[in-house]
């Protein structure tokens, strides 16, 4: 497949706002990475390789808690499970002639936002469009994380406290909008909050680590939701 300059430029155009957003959010992630004991190089490489906000945050939390490699692998699998579904949809958006190499590069940076803009392209997806988005989004994400680790330590405690909430703000921005139209998700959010609060505060569960609680709650609640409210074909 020949290099398509125009598609690449379209990708750069849509990648710029994504990169700016990533930079701010990754800054907060860098603070979390630093709290978990990672240095700037480790956090930057983690962000470059993982490109996953919730997945990285969960991973760093588990690392800080002294989790095993297996627990970290399981948590990464669960927090990134949605990318599996996104890649399934994305595979249908690519022409059958798109080579294995192109598929392997696109697969490196399937995120909520890049998936979103890639699926919004009319017709089939040209890999060079996604590469344009990636060329700005990936440096934004990795450099934001590095600066978060570095500047997190020189910033006043007050500022760090405020920035730490940025990542939660991003989570809220992902989970809440679908609740407008989907009643199941609208009901799930307060249920998750309540059960998570109970698991965190009840002495009954105090012997279980935060990471294991998150995995268990995610699987139990998602299985229950899938059994009680299976998604109909057209809704996915």
């Amino acid at each position: 497949m020949k290099f398509d300059k125009q598609q690449y430029r379209f990708g750069l155009r849509d990648g710029l706002p994504i990169a700016l957003g990533y930079f701010a959010v990754a800054f907060a992630l860098g603070i979390a990475a630093k709290n978990a004991g990672l240095n700037a190089l480790q956090a930057g490489i983690a962000s470059f390789l993982l490109n996953a906000s919730a997945g990285e945050y969960a991973g760093f939390t588990l690392i800080a808690a002294g989790a095993t490699y297996g627990e970290v692998a399981l948590m990464t699998l669960i927090t990134n499970a949605r990318y599996f579904l996104m890649s399934c949809s994305l595979s249908q958006k690519l022409d059958q002639s798109v080579s294995v190499w192109h598929r392997m590069i696109i697969g490196f940076d399937v995120t909520d936002e890049i998936f979103g803009v890639s699926m919004a392209v009319p017709g089939k997806l040209c890999p060079y469009y996604t590469y344009g988005v990636m060329s700005l989004a990936m440096p934004g994400w990795a450099s934001g994380t590095v600066l978060g680790v570095l500047a997190g330590s020189v910033l006043p405690l007050r500022v760090v406290s405020a920035l730490s909430v940025g990542l939660f703000g991003m989570f809220i921005a992902i989970i809440v909008p679908p609740a407008r139209t989907n009643k199941v998700i609208a009901a799930l959010i307060p249920i998750c909050f309540a059960l998570s609060f109970a698991a965190d505060r009840l002495s009954l569960f105090s012997g279980i680590s935060t990471g294991v609680k998150t995995i268990a709650l995610t699987v139990v609640i998602s299985v229950a939701a899938a059994l009680l409210f299976p998604k109909k074909e057209e809704q996915v």
């Binding site: 957003g21 919730a54 692998a73 699998l77 730490s164 809220i172 921005a173 989970i175 909008p177 998750c192």
Partner: protein
């Protein structure tokens, strides 16, 4: 921390890459199983919700500032504000409230 950071990063990198690339390489048809599709559909919302609360109260110096950021963030996200706007506003709410609370 109990293990080697580079091994942790390697484990996370391999797992997250395989999750993303395998469907692109292997999937020729859509998933048919309704239960698996539904489970995968709900997972992101459930896991992000579980991770947000009560953790947001512990992330801030004052738990009340965290609660306020959560409520204002939910209202803004419900009004379709962008990811960046919601994240920045939550930070601003905590910063301003903690000037008075802490």
């Amino acid at each position: 921390m109990s293990g080697n950071v580079w091994i942790y990063i390697g484990v996370m990198a391999v797992v997250s890459y395989l999750i993303r690339v395998l469907p692109l390489l292997l999937m020729r048809k859509q998933i048919k199983n309704t239960f698996i599709k539904s489970f995968l559909y709900y997972v992101p919302y459930v896991t992000l919700s579980v991770m947000t609360f009560p953790a947001i109260m512990d992330a801030t110096a004052s738990p009340y500032a965290g609660i306020a950021a959560l409520i204002i963030g939910i209202v803004m996200a419900y009004c379709k504000r962008s990811l960046l706007q919601v994240a920045v506003t939550c930070c601003a709410v905590v910063f301003i409230l903690e000037l008075f609370l802490v």
